[in-house]
């Protein structure tokens, strides 16, 4: 039984359809799920009261372990324990069970289950956050992971934007923020203006391969250098990596920290001070400041225009980083927010907004982080949508044929700021086919590129003279093809702890049973309110639902198609609901009349 939450006035919908949506921060090191309950954004805790789920998955031959329970396997079974999968999102994947999309989908499934257990029902959808600087491949891979986990993606939301929502709505009416987001494996800087509930992103910059992990690695290398011995096994390497992270965390509270590590059967001890760490990390930190300056340039702002600096990501607890930002902006960064949870909370607020549960206005105008371009003659990239364009955005470009009778052509789509094709990310090669045969140069094929509110690209093409829609064949340079996704979906069923469909069917079954029971009871007391015909219709539907409930062992089909037992059951329940709605209001009227004439409700 689900416990109730308070809704906004007049927003309440039908029972069983309470539009609960969740926000998920899918992080390199830790992931979180949050929702808005009675108007407050809240991180959902697991059974052990943990808010953070380590983004770690362990694969045994027939068991997948996610989160805290998987942590131990980092040192006992590092080969089968996947950490920091987010760093490899959007890269060419092999189709083993351990590719980054699959690992991410297993983490998302785990978070989804925490949400279901906490909410007592399946959320209608999720907002999933991504680094603002993620390119199209990385965003597509994230969306695919969510689909494989059976989540309805309401929106992919940029992490710094999510943080700004969580911060801005709580604290301020208007102003210009700079969000400095150093995650486990990614760095983003975002500049936004907030004005009466409208968040307008002015510029973003970042590096999807620079994060807290890299600072751990600096300490790791420093230790190896100092003691002059390298780890001889995966296990030693993993242990030293964890020790390095612990030192980084300790140094954000203390002046120095001591490490004891066992390498090659010898115990070593070493002291690292904040000064050591400052020297080690200076160049990485300066690299992030360079990106901050680029974003300011693109936003046509100076340091003095920034009202507040919001810190996101556990790594922003580093003392040296806070000091550097303080010096650079001449003001202290905000530390009132928990940098670990702020992104998930913002995602939850936007999810609640997209699910239609908010009365006040909240609008996000985000941007595309990287320029979109096409390959032209000589291996050069021609930009067609510049970086920091507000999304959604469309651009049309005309192409023509260079040979008589030519019926096909290829378009190579790129993302990045560099001039040479080889220096940009290759997104896809599109083959335009079915161009009507014409003299060279006569055909005019208008190709329209659209980047939607998720930051995802789609392409369409029309030959302008004939109006013929060219068919487009997409060959993603990276990521998964639809066939690969289908195969992974099937795979995930094999691995899933409990079959999603069985659970969904069981939920539909419970709803249907309670519906039938309630109506049967109403029929016993009030069937005289119905015509014979109406009553027969209701009884027939009840019989059909009972047959459907008793006779079915749902096949594990993930596709929710028209033939699935759950869909049939839901449709029957909806029918029954419709057919009995007149009956319900008649009963209501009867009850009110009875009430007015002083009868006790129990006697009706």
């Amino acid at each position: 039984m689900a416990l109730l939450q308070i809704s906004e006035p007049d927003q309440i919908s039908e029972p069983h359809h309470r539009n609960i949506a969740i926000g998920i921060d899918l992080g390199t090191t830790n992931s979180l799920v949050a929702t808005v309950k009675s108007g407050i954004a809240t991180v959902l805790k697991d059974y052990n009261q943990n808010e953070l789920t380590p983004s770690v998955v362990h694969y045994a031959s027939n068991k997948i372990t996610v989160g805290h329970e998987a942590l131990q396997f980092r040192t006992t079974d590092p080969k089968n324990t996947m950490i920091s999968a987010k760093r490899f999102m959007g890269l060419d994947v092999d189709l083993t069970s351990k590719n980054p999309v699959k690992v991410s989908s297993d983490i998302l499934s785990h978070l989804k289950q925490i949400a279901i257990d906490s909410l007592g029902e399946t959320p209608i959808g999720a907002v999933i956050t991504v680094p603002a600087y993620f390119d199209d491949n990385q965003r597509q891979a994230t969306k695919q992971a969510a689909e494989i986990a059976g989540l309805n993606v309401l929106r992919l939301l940029n992490e710094p934007t999510a943080a700004a929502i969580a911060y801005g709505l709580e604290n301020t009416e208007s102003g210009t923020f700079l969000v400095y987001d150093l995650g486990g494996g990614t760095f983003d800087v975002s500049i936004l203006s907030l004005n009466k509930g409208v968040f307008e992103v002015l510029a973003v910059n970042g590096d999807t391969h620079l994060g807290g992990d890299d600072f751990d690695k600096l300490i790791y290398d420093f230790i190896i250098n100092k003691i002059g011995v390298s780890p001889i096994s995966d296990i030693e390497e993993a242990t030293l990596m964890i020790a390095s992270r612990n030192i980084k965390e300790a140094l954000s509270m203390e002046e120095s920290s001591k490490v004891n590590c066992k390498l090659n059967n010898t115990l070593y001890s070493l002291e690292i001070t904040q000064n050591d760490f400052w020297d080690l990390s200076k160049s990485l930190l300066n690299k992030t400041l360079m990106l901050v300056k680029k974003a300011l340039r693109d936003a046509k702002l100076t340091i003095n225009d920034i009202n507040q600096i919001i810190l996101v990501g556990g790594s922003t607890r580093m003392t040296n980083l806070r000091r550097l930002l303080h010096d650079c902006f001449h003001k202290p960064p905000l530390t009132s927010l928990n940098p670990d949870t702020v992104v998930a909370l913002g995602a939850a607020i936007q999810a609640d907004n997209l699910a239609g549960n908010r009365n006040d206005e909240l609008l996000l105008l985000d941007v595309t982080p990287l320029s979109l371009g096409l390959e032209t003659m000589g291996g050069l990239a021609q930009k067609i949508i510049p970086r920091n364009s507000t999304i959604p955005v469309t651009r049309a470009q005309d192409f023509t044929t260079y040979k008589d009778g030519q019926t096909a052509m290829t378009i190579h789509i790129l993302q990045g700021e560099r001039e040479l094709v080889d220096d940009c990310r290759s997104l896809a090669k599109f083959s335009l086919k079915g161009i009507p045969p014409m003299t060279a140069g006569v055909a005019k094929i208008r190709v329209t590129f659209q980047i939607d509110a998720d930051g995802l690209l789609s392409v369409s093409a029309v030959e302008q003279n004939t109006g013929v829609m060219s068919s487009i064949e997409v060959k993603p340079s990276f990521g998964l093809t639809p066939e690969q996704i289908t195969s992974m979906l099937n795979e995930s069923i094999k691995y899933a702890k409990d079959d999603i469909n069985t659970r969904l069917f069981n939920e539909a079954k419970i709803d249907a049973i309670s519906l039938v029971e309630a109506i049967e009871q109403a029929l016993q007391t009030d069937h005289e309110l119905l015509t014979n015909n109406e009553e027969q219709q209701i009884l027939l539907l009840i019989r059909q639902i009972k047959t459907q409930i008793e006779g079915i062992n749902p096949k594990p089909l993930l596709e929710d198609n028209a033939q699935s037992p759950r869909t049939i059951l839901k449709q029957l329940s909806i029918r029954l609901n419709e057919v009995t709605s007149g009956f319900a209001s008649k009963r209501m009227n009867k009850a009110i009349k009875a009430g007015l004439s002083g009868k006790k409700i129990e006697e009706i």
Binding site: L154, N195, K196, V198, R297, L365, T390, I391, V393, T394
Partner: protein, 180 residues
């Protein structure tokens, strides 16, 4: 019932938006000088209605209308694109890629500036200084451009817009060099 009415109304509004030119969408007088604060307020108003985040509860796709509004916002915010759009409103089409005929004196100055950029050789402060110089020149040009539009001297506006195109290219090239 109300839902259906709302859908029809929204569908009609989307059609209207896609048909209109940028000045009409933002309900701004077709002049070169514009109030950028007003532009931003107007963008927020329009997107509150058309952004797909708000239209998610009905199945209508507002992506195209929302994108068209964003495109127009970018066009009007950027002086070069605004000038081209304003010329178009007045019946003059300008294709910067093809139409580059300008006085030799101006082209000579452009050559010089390009050489100066190359000579700066990635030196950030030299590039920033150069950027400042070109920015000043561009500002003067924008004032003249605004006047020619007020005087409805569209032939001269065409010429100045072409020059503005050259300055914009210079500034972009400097920005790219600084970013590298």
């Amino acid at each position: 019932m109300w839902g259906k009415f709302h859908r029809l109304k929204l569908m009609n509004n989307i059609k209207q938006i896609l048909k209109k030119n940028c000045y009409d969408i933002f309900e701004i007088e077709p002049q070169f000088a514009i109030d950028t604060a007003l532009l931003s307020t107007k963008l927020h108003q329009l997107q509150k209605e058309f952004h797909p985040d708000n239209a998610i509860n009905n199945e209508l796709s507002t992506n195209l209308a929302s994108a068209h509004i964003n495109n127009c916002y970018t066009t009007l915010k950027n002086p070069l694109n605004r000038s081209i759009a304003l010329l178009e409103v007045n019946g003059y089409l300008l294709d910067l890629a093809k139409d580059t005929q300008l006085p030799l004196e101006f082209l000579g100055e452009q050559m010089e500036l390009h050489e100066l950029i190359d000579e700066a050789n990635g030196n950030i402060s030299a590039l920033e200084e150069l950027e400042q110089t070109i920015n000043d020149k561009q500002k003067q040009l924008l004032v003249s451009l605004s006047d020619t539009f007020i005087n409805k001297d569209f032939q001269e506006a065409l010429n100045l817009t072409k020059q503005l195109g050259f300055y914009t290219r210079l500034l972009n090239s400097i920005a790219d060099k600084i970013n590298e």
